[in-house]
Symmetry: D2
């Protein structure tokens, strides 16, 4: 019977491999909202990307994302000899397919100008083909009239800023004054721009964190090496276009890249609080009380104690793990930590008070 | 700044590697109870094992277990030339250490006789050294008087049953009549005994599923190959000895080995129900309604449809994954599935009605 | 200094991740020849595939392949509304790029007819656009006149043989008689056709083993799960077109799919012999001599002893591993094994005499 | 037939899991010598370790090592209440077992004194029990008279040097003058001591790199995270005690820890040269010649160009991989690189001239 069971089990296993399962991504949350996992910047063969639009949906399904935007360049089609120039084609081809797969596919494009002003993504378009005017401001105006949300892409990318220093030019300030610029990419592909995070804080605009992938996603972020693509986490009431739009206009995002999270304190704090769970004390001896601290999510957290006290100086919580903590009995109940992989300002980590009681 | 961030993050990462984190094991549950992850059978150098007792605690911590029992042989000490014969030593050495690590270490032993009667584990002892009488029944009586829970180990092991066929001898029937036998190992190390599962059902006794490890656990179940040791899941009110004892006497266990779960229907059904989540429909087209089925746990589930209908014939749900399901609109709302890796009888899978509404 | 070293090392590591390294695939060999790792069947957006042609080259580079053929359908272009119909475009776009990457890109196509005759790949074309005649035989004649090597694709695929049984029709026999058919796919995507292996043996034609991928390769054969795409191993004097052509016409191929190797005994035997290494005896005791058996390759080998004798009944050699073997001193020096994952006929494993001396 | 093949293959796979295979570790070599993979420092329950001696052999087998020394403390037996004090027991129990497994088990011990002099390993003993004299120098004299090779352990360990700075005291100088000290651990567990590397160079003594493990090896260096234990690579004529001894006395070692290699230039240079292979040019265009650079080993190598030139500035060669290199045609044939993870002095990397011809 033993052998039979094994055959049985193994045959089923074969079938598993042929189905299309999606990974559940576990993250913290913000009370009252869903946490939508989003990537708002990627390319297909309709500009300089290397995949057919449906591949972007399949990749999102496999990774367990909620929302993607295909944002092919309006001004750049290196494959135009073989592929028709149609700025709406990617969305037209993939939208219905995405609906069936539970992926919210946002109609977008990348407006691609020399510096300044540089590159901008426009989301929630109705007709990308209307954005071909030679005047940059006219194009932005048209997008805004379509209801677009617009953000400034990779401001520190050496392709447009050879010294790698992001700069706000007059045209950007003008866009902000006009209310035509809604956010910035503080992270693009593999680059973090702390200065741009500060711009978003100063101008009360939305932070974005996107992949900008051109190749198949596994080429850029191989899961076999434990990599994940950068994601914009959006806190929305529901998983649909109006809720997403409302959330982006309200700046309710956190940026998740590598093992770091970045965003405003008002979101980062409840997000972190919901990610962990402190339990105990489960035991006491003469000197110590013992507690369990759990990380319920797929993100690691690194905590460093502020000040002195008989509590661990460093607590490292890999994804989906827990640690046993011993706290001195003569120590107070409250210990101050910094979460050193959550940035609430470019050079400021999230503070967290842990109460051992 | 980018490079600085990376150095910063990586240095923290180094620290992570040096701390002792435990994996969170996600499973289903049974309403009203905790799900304790337990292994009630393992050895140390105090019998024929190869590790110091504390290693068993450290292994349990790393794997995220709740309860272990070290069950060295009363009658067999191949290392006696170098290691003192002390049937309580393993427990004495490791108990306090285990408390601090949040591991409930049960005081146990393995009573080790030739067939019949074979090998028996006794749990919840007060003094294992009292179990050295030559009369097997006297030893069991003594254990029972100490409050022990006793189960019959690996009844189909070829070391004691050369043909691999488990058999109940008169002495076993006698133990059952006397109320001195509380359960059976239906799985030991890498062997499943379907006949023994039937014994437990017929006699209303408790099913156990244990590792019986002698070497370091990673040697036997290498995590780098995705293996996990066999576990007895116990549904107890609290994580302490009295609750555990009550749960075992009430037969509230499920056996988890390889990718299979086995146990009584009354526990398996709510356990599975709590493991998954059906959401939707998130979309509809002319012919179909689309749903999401999530597996929230670290166990895979394999579903096969019973009967016909416009619903997926097979649904394979790896751990922590979801699938998108399309259900014919003309199909009824209720679809019958079998969960082919949950056995509620030796040859009977768990039935599950999925209601798409 | 310790910390500095770590930072140093880790920074270098970051750089590693950004470069493009290729995996070295270790296999056995056949004396006098190189072992070329080849995949002769794949698609791009120029027929029903989902990637730009250069992606196929990049994938081959990353996996460490030597030779690929892009074989888009002559008769089927579902993306024709967006992508120009040009049967040579994939090769034209990618050839120079492939040369720089040390990938031999063969100019090919897939001739795609209803059953009979079914689908055929033609390799070594000069102009795929010439193969558009309505007459199948005319198309094949044209290909042959261009110097093509032609093989019959996936003869048991249910898309063309609903019962999954491969059949040789009169048209195929005619092609064979005319010398216009050079081989068969005995394996395609995830299907092995033992009957087709027999056809190749009976007709002295070449066996092929190909992926037929349409999506990015990581979608179909995820390396994180230890999968590899099916490969045709070709034994050629040099890595260039003439040598490859000569080798294919001389039937010098082995098929490597999953953990199985299939092909003619004359190649399989030396290939296996070169894959392993027996060393020793490194030790002797009263009863036994001890040897080391090494598997020097990235393929596993499973050996089962034929007949009796005091040598291991089963030897399992995972990739890049060795086992210690003990051989009875009273046993003869020669032990007969079967390599149960090398098929030299559809139901016949490779025999191997191991000589312990 | 297809399903049958799968069952067949999978059943074989099950068997694989139950056998004991060893990993082949691929490294470079030094002409005229074998590369022995050695760990000369580890503990068992006979001092403060946590495993039975045979576990150390099993671990070495699984990892593919050649040589180990169990070096329990002469002066420290925290388990003495349960485990007999017998300084030869570990070797006595494991030697024959190791022989059968092709592991050369060296009879050793750790002489364990407060600072100064600190801890010393003695290898190639005949009777460790003779090393219990209260006089440190007498103990060393006795060991030397037994033919021991002696090295100074972890000189920068904070347990004996609270500031982490290794120091040579007069007693160490005396040992060197007497010819009673043969080497130093330049790496122990997870600590590299660059100063100690300099001592070895200055005094022409042997460099050692050992694990000093007390727990099961997978606890300290989990293979699922890609870790390997530190190893002393010894270049010996044969795999036996006399050859090993001769090689250690002749200082023919390289230290391999994390992704770094350290040792004298005379060994590191040929070792690296034998680890890589440059092939080509396989292609040329107007501007460039294209070459393949292979890393044939299980160690990564990181190369950084010295000076200018039209050749890659950085070449990163993960284990068992190759890269395609393009070299400017106007560039000379010789390009100077540094191998930045091979240290031939504490702060000096190995230089390497690559000749593209």
């Amino acid at each position: 019977m033993k052998a039979n069971l094994l055959i049985h089990t193994l045959l089923l296993f074969i079938v598993v491999e042929l189905s299309a399962q999606s990974r559940i991504i576990r993250t913290g949350s913000v009370p009252g909202y869903l946490t939508l996992k989003c990537d708002f910047h990627m390319h297909t063969i309709f500009s300089d990307g290397e995949v057919w639009p449906l591949v972007r949906v399949d990749e999102a399904v496999q990774e367990g994302l909620d929302v993607i935007a295909i944002t092919d360049h309006i001004e750049y089609q290196p494959h135009r000899e073989q592929v028709s120039v149609d700025h709406n084609a990617a969305w037209d081809l993939a939208f219905e397919y995405a609906c069936r797969k539970n992926i919210l596919l946002i109609h977008g494009t990348e407006i691609t100008r020399k510096m300044p002003p540089g590159h901008f993504n426009a989301l929630f378009l109705t007709d990308a083909s209307a954005l071909t005017d030679t005047s940059f401001l006219e194009v932005i105006r048209t997008a805004v009239e379509q209801g677009a949300i617009i953000f400034y892409n990779h401001p520190g990318w050496k392709g447009q800023q050879p010294d790698g220093v992001p700069r706000l030019y007059e045209v950007h300030r003008q866009l902000i004054r006009l209310g035509w610029l809604h956010g910035f990419e503080i992270y693009n592909y593999d680059e973090f721009y702390p200065d741009v995070m500060q711009w978003a804080l100063d101008n009360n605009l939305t932070m974005f964190c996107n992949s900008d992938i051109h190749s198949p996603v596994e080429t850029e972020y191989p899961s076999r090496k434990g990599k994940h693509r950068p994601l914009t986490l959006v806190f929305a009431s529901e998983k649909n276009e109006p809720s997403l739009r409302e959330a982006l206009l309200a700046h309710r995002t956190l940026s998740w890249f590598q093992d770091t999270l970045a965003g405003i304190r008002e979101l980062a704090a409840p997000f972190f609080t919901s990610s962990i769970k402190l339990e105990g004390p489960y035991y006491q001896d003469e000197k110590y009380r013992y507690f369990v601290l759990k990380n319920l999510t797929d993100m690691p957290f690194y905590l460093v104690r502020k000040g002195t006290g008989d509590a661990p100086e460093k607590i490292n919580l890999p994804e989906n793990s827990y640690v046993n903590l011993k706290i001195g009995k003569d120590s107070g109940d409250t210990v101050h930590y910094q979460v050193t992989n959550i940035r609430v300002e470019p050079d400021q980590f999230l503070d967290y008070e842990m109460i051992f009681r």
